[in-house]
Symmetry: C2
Amino acid sequence: MKKVEICLSPELIHLYDFKGKNVVIVDIFRATSTMMAALANGVASITPVMDLESCRTMEKEGYVIAGERDGKTAEGFTLGNSPLAYLGKKFADEKIAMTTTNGTVAIEKTRELAKNIILGAFVNIKATAEFLISQETDILILCAGWKGKFNLEDSLFAGALVSSLHPHFGTDCDTSIAMRSLYESNEHRLQVFMGQASHAKRLQNHNIESDIVFCLSQNIYDVIGILEDGKLVSR
Amino acid sequence: MKKVEICLSPELIHLYDFKGKNVVIVDIFRATSTMMAALANGVASITPVMDLESCRTMEKEGYVIAGERDGKTAEGFTLGNSPLAYLGKKFADEKIAMTTTNGTVAIEKTRELAKNIILGAFVNIKATAEFLISQETDILILCAGWKGKFNLEDSLFAGALVSSLHPHFGTDCDTSIAMRSLYESNEHRLQVFMGQASHAKRLQNHNIESDIVFCLSQNIYDVIGILEDGKLVSR
């Protein structure tokens, strides 16, 4: 039986083997949720970029640039990191260049060996689970965490995905067992439980509670996000 | 309000601040459970030692030496790593030298800055919680994990301790929120839940299920284990 493992923080990434695996990258607040909103709303592609400066130079090449600093749209950028900006197909057919430190690092570290790199977000979790089940390939879920530490939103998503993959995948990994239990015992009160999380508290301070509600909404979209030739596209 | 944080793996230890904190070292299967069994059964002290060789040389200095290799008593050692060997005050008043890689590293990394270094184990969790509450000092719980990764038994203990400390300590830390929830939703079926854990499965293969049952038993003892002058003693 194929297996699903969870890596809770980028600081633990060296302990895991990606070879031939389907790697799911998770940064619920807000990178991967925003990317899925963009892709499901018709953007042509998203190029993940490490920093604001590199991203800024891509505007001349025809990209719409997206970047945040301290939770707000970075100076000179068209878009910040809010998933709501892409709704109503506002940026359909555009190529997006988006800064995402965690996402870019995770992609760089895993792309050579992984079979596929896939976006993980609550907004399309069922579609992602169905894709993963159809692949019959070992899975590694990589949580972005917060400054190297465990965070609640990414770990809960990882647990939700493991729960969705049951009974098609084995969970020998203690992290998968624990996060699945954590999710299943809190799924009836996810917003309340997440309300305690430190990152959620920080986002609330920026008056972006609507982003949080969006990022915790399940199955708004039925496409997946996947890396092809260095760009994230929908399928 | 004073806070309690959890570090899930020695690989994340550099992300945490120990200064002035009460540090709780956790290695449920079996180092810290065994140490508490030994201390509660009257041993004079336990000197944690990094490796078998260093430990072996201490026999000449009057120490009873304890060490395991692959789950069994190491060759030439009086004791292995089973807590049951100390019951009935069999080694009362003896000085023990015990190999424990994780424990020794955790002590070395934290002893200069920590206020106290305390053993964490289910067998005396209530006494430990009462001591910590009386101290009114920030707490960091350090889980040994398994080969650098998260493990179920240490994380569940950390969650149980956070639960016991409520409402005297704040839990801003996402890890504390998550592990408390994980423990509280599984405490009625701890043995069954732990039966899924990879490390528990490995221990079972060595026919030491009685050790597991012992290590998951709560509040057999009402003393705490604490580091004094490089040795662990009971108080």
